[in-house]
Structures are given as structure tokens and as C-alpha cells.
Symmetry: C2
Subunit: 503 residues, 2 copies
């Protein structure tokens, strides 16, 4: 694809308005983030996608450690009998899980490899680890002195999904799952809410992805949870993405797994537990929040590369000067601190035209592209392209000014992305006050988030899902909820809830 073409056409075909789901796949391909693997429903995460995940991990991990959580590692396999101990886990996970039944492969009569040596009990690959961790907690927790127990793990999990989409829904995905046990209900509730806040801050502060914070209705809760808190983000097609959940599990898992402690009064009590997680799904959310018809757009705080330097060499005799200029500039940039780390800088010395090089980094979403040719060397300048601006809006800046302002410019870009996404979310979140408007909003208008009164009746919820494929994304946590009347039944409603189509 050459640069002339790029000025008349978008780098991504189709565009968002032409075909949003296909646009999403093409952005992933153009930025080389991941690909579908030959293993059913599983993805291969490529270097650019994995670097993004590593940056997300680092930010979240630091915050989890700072709040007293310790990383551990629990086994990948879970005995089928463990799942049986908690009835809702069976309902929630038994029907789509990878089952290990044998411990060797042998050649059959035709020389094909087939399972040999059956196991006494089947194992499943963890779809989540409440059960195996519950068993461990029951041994580790004896006295109130052992509480709170605050544990986290960064692992792969597997759910045998039928319809998969890269990052958003895959059979195998990567995540962190936190699991905690506490002496009192209030403490465990606080923990679930504290993590929920941490997730919301991460989404907004790092991903520049605004979220609505709320509680799930009973029908959307995690299997075995008393409360599920969720952060819900609006994608550019106005659908909701559940971006992270934190569960207060009450004593359900403590009772299923016998997590008991001797309290201060020497009375034996069941502990209260929580669990919470965010996954590689966040990468899907990041893509769909910011990217445009030219590809990925990265919030600077998570970008694997902040500034890419593009040497533009027209004549061979300029090469040495231009490369030396780039090297020195890269060194100066790498001394600059941004978000408490060093700036990440790359020099792209591939043997491509300037346009090809520049567009490849546009598609990868790098915040700043700096072209360096003979002119820049002579004038001690840089030729700057910013990912949030049109390609043709590139501008020249003195090298000193660029170096002096790059950290601030990255902050501005980060803030701008958040503001743009927040404005979009607000613009497409409507208070809706009667059923006809509600049905119209999700069928004839362009949709979005509908904030409407609902009386809490799960039958109404089910009917709406059936009619419109719309669900209650959350019951927002508000300081002063305003009561009203359910737009479906006319019954009392304690507050508006958020309805939307979702991923």
C-alpha cells in the first residue's frame, strides 16, 4: 500500500461504518496483534499484542501488590469432583470445558495417535479457579490470624466457546484472577469494591476507556456469587463490553469447601470470600474504544513504543548522517521519563519507502512518528506525525522543543483519547422513559446505552433479552439513586439501570 493511496483511502477496509465487526478483525491484522490459531477457538498473540498485554499486566500487578495481594500459582487442572461441590459452578462451567481423560497417546492399528491410559477421574482445564483455590484456602485458613488471605494469579484459562472472536471471546484466554478470604462480610464486600475501583481506575487512567460502574442483576451474576460488580465500557458501535468483574461470594464457596476459622471468641466460623478478574479481553476493548479507519490507536500509557523514528534516506550518501542523527535523538528520548518509566523509542531501519514505513506505524497505533531526512539533519528539526491527527497534518518542530515537550504531549494525547471516548459514551447514553421509546431506541435508532427504570423483575429482563437481544449491563452504583417507575410494568423502581446490546 503506498502513501499516495493512503491520502484518498483509509488504511483499513472496510471502515467502521461499512462493517464494524470486519473492521475490528482488519485492525487486529493490520496492527499484527494476534491471529486465529489452528487450535479450535484459540488465538496466537503476536509480539505487538503481547507487549500491550505485558504493559497492562505491569500496571495492574503493581497496584495489586501495593494493596497487599500476593501472586501465586495454582494447578491448571481441576478434578471434576471439585466442580461438583458448588452447584452453580457446575451449571456455569461444565457445559463448555476442556476435559482431560487420558495421560498418553498411543498408535492405533492404522498408526494414528489416539488416547491411551485412561485416568481414574477426569480433570478439566481451569475455566476459573474458585474451586481449586477454595480447597487450598480450607487448609491454609485456621485462625482469624490467617485472614485476610489476599491472593492473585496471572494464568491461562479455558472455556470451550462456540463462537469466538479474537480477544473478545476465545476458548483460551489470559487473565489475572484474584481470590481473597476474610473474617467478616463487610471486609469481603470492601475488598470486592476496592478491586472494582482499581479496575475502573485502570480502565480510565491507563486504557483511556471510560466505564460505568455498577452491579450485575441476579441473572447476570457470576456462578456462586452474592454480588457481581462490573465495569461496562461503550464500544464505537455503541455496544457494551463487560471489561472486568469483581465478585463478593459471601460464604458460598467457604461452605462448599469448608473454609473455616477460629474467631477471636474461639468460635468456629465460615470465612467470606471474593474473586475478581480482568483478561486479554481488555485488548479487544482498547481496540474498539480508540481505533479508527486507519488502524489501531494506542493510549500512550500502554503503548509498547511511544515514539518511532523513521529515517528517510533518498540518497545513499545521506545514510550515515541520518542514522547518526536518529541514534542520538533516540538516546536523548530514552532518557526522558514518562509515567515513571523511560520513553520507549524505536528506529525503523527497514528497507521500505517513507510512506510504507510511516503507514505501518500508523496502523500499529504508535503515538508519535518522527520522520528524519536530510532536511531535519541540517536544520536540527524533527518532522512529527501524531496518531490522533490526520496523516497530512504532520509538522516540523525544532529538536529541542520536541524533546522538551514530548512527555507533556503524550499526556495531552492520553487525556484527549479519554475525553473523546467519554464524550462518545455520554452522547449515546440516553434516559428513556417509556417502553415504546425503549424498543425504538434498540431497533430503529442507532442505539447505545439506555438508562431506564426497571422494577427488578427477572421476567421483564428475560423478555427484553428475547425481544431485542438487550441485557441489563449494570445497576449503576450511585451516591443518590433517584427512584421512579418501571417503564415496562409501572411498578416502583429504586433507580435507573443501564440496558444495552453487548459483546
Amino acid at each position: 500500500m503506498n502513501s499516495a493511496k493512503q491520502n484518498t483511502k483509509t488504511a483499513i477496509t472496510p471502515t467502521r461504518t461499512e462493517d464494524y465487526p470486519e473492521w475490528y478483525q482488519q485492525v487486529i491484522k493490520a496492527a499484527d496483534l494476534a491471529e486465529v490459531s489452528p487450535v479450535r477457538g484459540c488465538m496466537t498473540i503476536k509480539p505487538w499484542g503481547y507487549a500491550l498485554w505485558e504493559n497492562m499486566q505491569r500496571a495492574i500487578d503493581e497496584q495489586l501488590k501495593a494493596t497487599g495481594h500476593k501472586n501465586m500459582y495454582f494447578p491448571l487442572l481441576i478434578p471434576a469432583s471439585f466442580l461438583e461441590k458448588e452447584a452453580e459452578q457446575v451449571t456455569g462451567f461444565a457445559k463448555e470445558c476442556a476435559v482431560v481423560t487420558h495421560c498418553r497417546l498411543v498408535h492405533d492399528a492404522e498408526g494414528k495417535l489416539v488416547p491411551g491410559s485412561p485416568l481414574e477421574e477426569p480433570y478439566i482445564i481451569r475455566p476459573t479457579s474458585e474451586t481449586i483455590i477454595g480447597e487450598a484456602f480450607s487448609r491454609w485458613v485456621q485462625s482469624y490470624r490467617d485472614l485476610p488471605l489476599l491472593v492473585n494469579q496471572w494464568v491461562n484459562v479455558m472455556r470451550w466457546e462456540m463462537r469466538t472472536r479474537l480477544f473478545l471471546r476465545t476458548s483460551e484466554f489470559l487473565w489475572q484472577e484474584g481470590h481473597t478470604a476474610h473474617a467478616t462480610s463487610a471486609e469481603a464486600q470492601n475488598e470486592a469494591l476496592k478491586i472494582f475501583d482499581l479496575y475502573a481506575h485502570f480502565a480510565e487512567g491507563y486504557m483511556a476507556m471510560p466505564v460505568i460502574k455498577g452491579e450485575k442483576t441476579a441473572s447476570e451474576r457470576f456462578p456462586g456469587a452474592v454480588n457481581t460488580y462490573t465495569i461496562e465500557a461503550m464500544m464505537q458501535d455503541k455496544k457494551a463490553l463487560q471489561a472486568g468483574t469483581s465478585h463478593f461470594l459471601g460464604q458460598n464457596f467457604a461452605k462448599a469447601f469448608n473454609i473455616k476459622f477460629l474467631g477471636t471468641q474461639s468460635k468456629e466460623e465460615f470465612a467470606y470470600t471474593t474473586s475478581w478478574g480482568v483478561s486479554t479481553r481488555l485488548i479487544g476493548g482498547l481496540i474498539m474504544t480508540h481505533s479508527d479507519d486507519n488502524g489501531l490507536v494506542l493510549p500512550p500509557k500502554l503503548a509498547p513504543v511511544h515514539v518511532v523514528l523513521l529515517p528517510i534516506i533518498h540518497k545513499e550518501e545521506q545514510r550515515a548522517d541520518i542514522l547518526a542523527y536518529c541514534e542520538q535523538l533516540a538516546q536523548e528520548l530514552r532518557q526522558i521519563s514518562y509515567d515513571n518509566k523511560r520513553l520507549m523509542v524505536e528506529i525503523d531501519i527497514r528497507d521500505l519507502t517513507g510512506g510504507e514505513k510511516a503507514w505501518s506505524w500508523v496502523k500499529k497505533g504508535v503515538p508519535f512518528r518522527i520522520e528524519i531526512g536530510q532536511k531535519e539533519c541540517q536544520n536540527n528539526t524533527v518532522f512529527v506525525g501524531r496518531r490522533d491527527q490526520e496523516y497530512k497534518e504532520r509538522y516540523s518542530q525544532s529538536r529541542q522543543e520536541f524533546l522538551a515537550t514530548i512527555a507533556t504531549q503524550l499526556d495531552e494525547l492520553q487525556a484527549k483519547l479519554l475525553k473523546r471516548a467519554s464524550d462518545f459514551q455520554k452522547q449515546h447514553t440516553l434516559d428513556i422513559d417509556n417502553k415504546a421509546d425503549f424498543y425504538d431506541f434498540f431497533t430503529h435508532s442507532e442505539g447505545g446505552f439506555a438508562a431506564a427504570h426497571w422494577d427488578g423483575n427477572p421476567e421483564i429482563e428475560a423478555k427484553i433479552k428475547q425481544d431485542l437481544n438487550v441485557t441489563i449491563r449494570c445497576i449503576p452504583l450511585l451516591n443518590t439513586p433517584e427512584p421512579g417507575k418501571c417503564i415496562f410494568s409501572g411498578e416502583k423502581s429504586p433507580q435507573r439501570v443501564i440496558f444495552a446490546k453487548s459483546y
Copy 2:
């Protein structure tokens, strides 16, 4: 366990000389590094063990990135048919692997969960990923411009081991596996050797674990490898531990998976590949290299905590002063840089006696324990216990002096551990020049590493394994190998090789 007891007895029972294998298990338990899980052969890695792994990961990952390797993530599951494409992989891994055959659990007539929905083709949980990565490389590599391809992943793998020991041999373990493809044989060989050097530097520079660098004999090679390079360390029971391997795979996997590229002469050629890995087994090596009869001993460069502060409060009215003194000291220590990172400092405010507190950190292997009581507050001093010294050798030091010297003291401790282990290895590595002495060395004397001449005959190798359970650990890479005569056959031998019993 109280401190009085500790002065007469060791913290770990049995001691190394009494029962080395049991001592190993007890050190792991006393330091709370990991435990056997209810899942056959799998371990649960606890916070102290996992923090150690994170530190190992960080050091290795930085070096892999600095040498141009990119992290990715490939699927956990491997179709059985992929294994079939490389005959040696089948032989090497098919007989001990976890086989996924179904994608749901259903209730049987008795209400028990049993496998439902059989899959068309079985998958195995990756025992290593050459095959699935080979398939990807065959798509990604088209031209010489796509080479070298330098990829790494940090993942869990599974081998259905029959006899397991925490860290050393478990059904599931964590590791990094690097996979690279190159245009020429020489380049791929160089890569395999470069990583091998990187592993050796890590083992010696971070783990303070001296290693012998060499090549495996044909019978000990990785399935499908042309050369396997290994670093072999000597444990305190004088057995060898294979601590990391790097494989030159020639064109074996390229041919099995059709990894071809168009060369500079527009001729299609098969690529040359390598693979290499180190695992949580390193933690076992670290434990067995340095720990003593009082528990774990950590090399400072990998210690999750460098200095622990132990407030010793005899009277309640001293509490505020002592804790304030500790807090301030911790803050000062955390400003100090060690190995390009900040010192890790903890204050242990648990409600335990001074002796109990101190011994719990001795067993965890923390380099420096600092007791702070009323006297230290008044005199502005610290009372120092160093993990490499006897418990009773604790000494008083001025706070200023301690702060000024702690980084150097950690370096000294690191160097001392390496020297101690190197001396031990040298002391127990003997040149052996006849068969009778050789058999005697491994049966009647205390054993160790035997450096002996061998003619390269695999039958002799097999016989020795059968007779003595001794294997050739490696053919050392030497600048000037000295030829001689095989002590078993009298035939010509190009150089001495290292024989030992091993884990």
C-alpha cells in the same frame, strides 16, 4: 519453635547429612515456597516461591528482550496430529502427556460428572511447543527478510511424570521457551550458543550457581535436536542438575513443518531452527545449591526481600518509638539502589516473640535480618543478623554505617555464595583415569562429577547407566580439548566428559 531450641538444634529436621531428599522437602515447607497439590503431580507455588520465580523471570526476560527476542503467546493445546509430524517428538512426549478428548462434563445416571461431547481429534496439553510454533513459522516465514525470527513465551507446560518432586520434576511446570528460525545453519548454531551463554551467566550471576557448560551426547539430546547444549550444576548431595538447555534443531522441524523461505538468490530453502528453555526447576537448583540445615539461603540478586526489620517490643510503651524508628529506617533503605532496582524491605509486625520472628526469616533465606528494640532506638544502631553467618553471630552497627554499606554487603554475600558453591563443585569434580576407580567413585566413595575419557560409544554409556545409574551430563565445551584413551574401551577419546548421578 522457640529461639532457645534453635541454638542447640537446626531449624530443619532432618539435616542434609541425615536425609538429603527429606531435608529438601522440609526446606521448601519451612520457607513456604510451594506444596503438593491435590492434582496428581502438580504443585501449588506459594507467594515466597512465586516471588522468587518473578525475580528470575525479570532478569531473564530483560536479557532476552535486549538480545532482540519478542514475547508471544501460543495456544496451550496441540492437536495430536501435529506431534505425528516429527517422529522423535512422538517418542519423546506421547507416552506421558495430558490428553483432552471431550469438551463438556455431563451428569451420569448416578449424578456424577463424566466427560460428554467427544472431540473429533484429541489435543494434548503442550509438553513443549516446537510443533505448534513450527506450524506458525511455516506461515510467517516466506522470504529471507522474515529471518531471523526470534520468539519467546513464558507459559505453563505439562508432562505426565510418574515420580514427582516439588520444583525438580512436576507434571505441570512453568518455563520460558524460546523458538527461533534462521537463514543459515551457522546463524542458528550461534543463536543456540548465545542463549546457552545467557543461561550460564544467569545461573552464575544471579543464582550464584556455578555450572559446567557442555553438549549432550546423542542419547541425551532433546527429541528432534541436532545438538543440545546444557548447563549442569552440582547440588550439595553431589548429584547433577540439568539447569537449562538450548537446542540447535538443524532443519528437522523446518522439514517436518515446511518452514521455507525464498533466499537472496530466489531459491527456496528450509530454515534452520533453535529452541531453548529454563523452568521453575531452577528454584529447586537454587534451594539445593545454597540452603543449609536452618533452611533456605537466598542469593541477594534474587531475594524477594533483601532486609527484614524485626521490631522487638518488650514493653507496650516502647511500641510507638520502635515502630517509628523501623518505618524511617525502611524508608531510607528503600531509597538505596541495588542491582539497578530499589532495595526490597519489609517490617515484620506480627505478634510473635523476637526469636520466632527471626527464625521464620532465617528459614525463608532473607539476606539481612535487623532487630530493632529500645536499645537500637536510643543508640541509633541496628542489630544485624546475616543469613550466611551463624544465628548467634549477630552484631550491632551504627545505623549510618549500615545504610552506607548495605549494598556492598549484599554484593559480598552474593559473591561469597558463588565462591562457596564453586569451591564445592571443584572439590567434588575428579579426573578419573581407570574403570575400577570410576566404579568405586560412584559406589564406595561419596561421588560427585567424574571427568573421564570416553570413546563416544553409546553402548558403554548405556552400560554405565544400567550399572551405576550414572549418565554423561555433558561433553564440556573447551577451548583446547585434550585427547586421551577411553577408560572403558581403551579406544581414542577426543576429550574428558562429565559423568554423574543426576536429578
